[in-house]
């Protein structure tokens, strides 16, 4: 498979990143090489395999109960801005 620069631009959008045209060309070459290198998995005989677990794994969900977080200030200490009891985020709609 050839990795085109367009593919890289598409992947960049999906990844929510920004790159320059030059970086896109470089990455296209880089990923082309990487995929060639990783291509050895295609030669493996994978017939008869599936992704079902061999043994039934019992559910180990914990009880659904409310645990109060005592220090609210600490919980919000990483928020950039607080307004009343809400996290304020940058204005993105006009």
């Amino acid at each position: 498979v050839k990795v085109e620069r367009d593919t890289i631009q598409y992947i960049t959008r999906l990844s929510k990143l920004k790159i320059t045209d030059y970086e896109a060309s470089e990455l296209a070459k880089d990923f082309q090489q990487v995929l060639e290198c990783l291509g050895n998995i295609k030669e493996e005989d994978l017939r008869g395999l599936d992704l079902e677990p061999e043994v039934e794994i019992p559910s180990i969900l914990r009880k659904d109960e409310v645990i109060n977080f005592e220090n609210h200030r600490e919980l919000f200490q990483n928020a950039k801005r607080i307004r009343d009891s809400f996290i304020a985020i940058p204005k993105v709609l006009d």
Binding site: T7, N40, K42, N78, K80
Partner: protein
């Protein structure tokens, strides 16, 4: 043999002591916990400038905890498995009130409001946190060079990398900054730096140690484990870390009452050990091959059965690892959008631009590359050929190991194909994880222990691997070799290196 200068540790300085020796010292009142912590802090302050292991040092809280521990000891109270033992924590594990950055700009100012489960467990066991140590950004890398903040240097030779991603953890232990440091291993990130820095590193069975509070890289592969100076310390630390946690649904409840320190002294008599042919291939440095094979002979002398075996499928393991880990990283790192916490850009036009600019400005080059590679193999054109095939291959690898472990107790192999390389030489080489990543795919435990030195004076690591939850066998094998080799007291001499550099 005095190339870099070995620090011979019949010396009685506290920083050269094992966890065991420290605990003895406290018990017989040879020194107090506060004195020990002060000595470590002093050493970090004077020497870490050269090593670059620590991102954050928390001297005040460490001294406070040390005083409290001394009071407990004076009152004759129970102090715990790691009572008064100073430790360092890799900076991708959440510590309440203590900055946790993942060595990334995106979390530069992040202060977790809670402790990871293993931090709680270590504190309950009496350990004292000295600080947080460096890593490759988000643990993606194998040289600690992708850290956004600083380089870390190999204490055995300051022009070499310490390995990674837990390079700060391994360098801190090797430099005598702490007898134990916690690391994380997704494809070899505990074992490879442990080997490069001449320390012991355990990647536990997937599910043996809770990951609640670990900032994830690839969730189906990530494990947390100890890096220490000795096998005994490693077994003790693992004992403190392990156990099921209701906050991590992947953590398992098995074999919790084994006392590893007693168990490991049983030796290797009667154990069947396999040497996997494919792991001694053309990529392997001849000096490493020779040293590892010599160690294998020591096992034979100690009464183990050694056999050559073949496991051809492992050749593809590294590919499947690279695909699965990148795919999971792309998903785990999707949440850093600059909206609620973490780095946020100042200049943007709309919400799409806000998120894309935030991420582009704050992630390093290698992290971006892996996010994109992961997104690529998950995209519709590539999914079936790469991602889905990797998942099937992973199952096949797991099945192959299961078959092997019906016949063998342990497998033996090198930890790394190369010796520690120069800083700046290779930023990210997937081949570095050639001998380690397969175990993460299978979820089985592995340990790396020092087994000798190259002619240039660099440490060489030997790796043992065993079936799921058979850490007891790993410790038996590792302890036996440590006893036979008698190199455990060799430590790098940082003072001599300084003299050499100044000349």
């Amino acid at each position: 043999m005095n190339f870099m200068g070995f620090r011979k540790t019949n010396d009685t300085s506290i920083y050269s002591m094992s966890i065991d020796a420290l605990k003895e010292g406290y018990r017989y009142k040879l020194f107090s916990v506060k004195e020990a912590v002060q000595e470590y802090l002093k050493r970090i302050e004077s020497l870490d400038e050269k090593i670059g292991a620590f991102l954050t040092v928390c001297a005040d809280s460490a001294l406070g905890e040390a005083e409290a521990m001394d009071e407990k000891i004076a009152k004759g109270q129970e102090v715990g498995l790691l009572g008064g033992v100073p430790i360092a924590i890799k900076d991708n594990i959440c510590t309440r009130g203590l900055k946790t950055t993942c060595a990334s700009r995106v979390l530069e100012d992040f202060i977790p409001p809670y402790d990871a489960t293993i931090i709680k467990k270590l504190k309950d066991a009496g350990a004292i946190i000295l600080g947080k140590v460096n890593l490759d950004e988000f643990a993606i890398g194998s040289s600690t060079e992708t850290s956004a903040f600083q380089r870390t240097y190999n204490p055995w030779n300051l022009s070499k990398v310490p390995g990674g991603s837990s390079g700060g953890s391994a360098a801190a232990v090797a430099a005598g900054f702490a007898p134990m440091a916690v690391g994380t291993d997704t494809g070899g990130s505990i074992r490879q730096p442990a080997a490069f820095c001449g320390t012991v590193g355990l990647k536990p069975t997937y599910g043996a140690v809770s990951r609640y509070g670990l900032i994830p890289f690839a969730s189906s592969l990530d494990t947390i484990g100890p890096i220490t100076g000795t096998v005994t310390d490693c077994a003790l630390s693992f004992q403190a870390l392990r156990g099921q946690d209701m906050r991590d649904a992947t953590s398992a409840k098995t074999g919790s009452d084994i006392d590893y320190v007693t168990e490991m002294k049983r030796g290797v008599q009667g154990l069947k050990i396999g040497i996997v042919r494919e792991w001694f291939n053309e990529d392997l440095d001849p000096e490493i091959e020779k040293t590892v094979r010599e160690s294998a002979q020591l096992y034979e002398k100690a009464g183990a059965w050694i056999e050559d075996i073949s496991l051809p499928i492992i050749d593809c393991g590294i590919s499947a690892y690279y695909i699965i880990s990148s795919a999971e990283a792309s998903s785990n790192l999707a949440g850093y959008d600059g909206l609620r916490y973490g780095y946020g850009t100042e200049h943007f036009t709309d919400i799409e631009d806000l998120i894309a600019s935030t991420r582009s400005e704050s992630f390093g080059k290698e992290v971006k590359r892996r996010i994109m590679l992961g997104t690529l193999v998950l995209s519709s054109d590539y999914y079936d050929d790469y991602y889905y095939k990797s998942l099937l291959l992973r199952k096949k690898i797991r099945n192959s190991f299961k078959e092997i472990f019906k016949q063998y107790d342990l497998l033996i192999m090198p930890t790394t194909p190369t010796l520690p390389y120069d800083i700046g030489e290779l930023q990210s080489n997937p081949l570095e994880m050639l001998y380690t990543a397969t175990m993460n795919l299978a979820g089985i435990p592995s340990i790396s222990i020092p087994c000798g030195f190259s002619n240039s004076g660099l440490p060489i690591g030997l790796q043992l691997t065993a079936d799921h939850f058979a850490e007891d066998k790993l410790f038996r094998g590792a302890y036996q070799l440590e006893q036979e080799l008698g190199i455990v007291n060799r430590k790098p001499d940082l003072d001599i290196q300084e003299v050499e550099q100044n000349v």
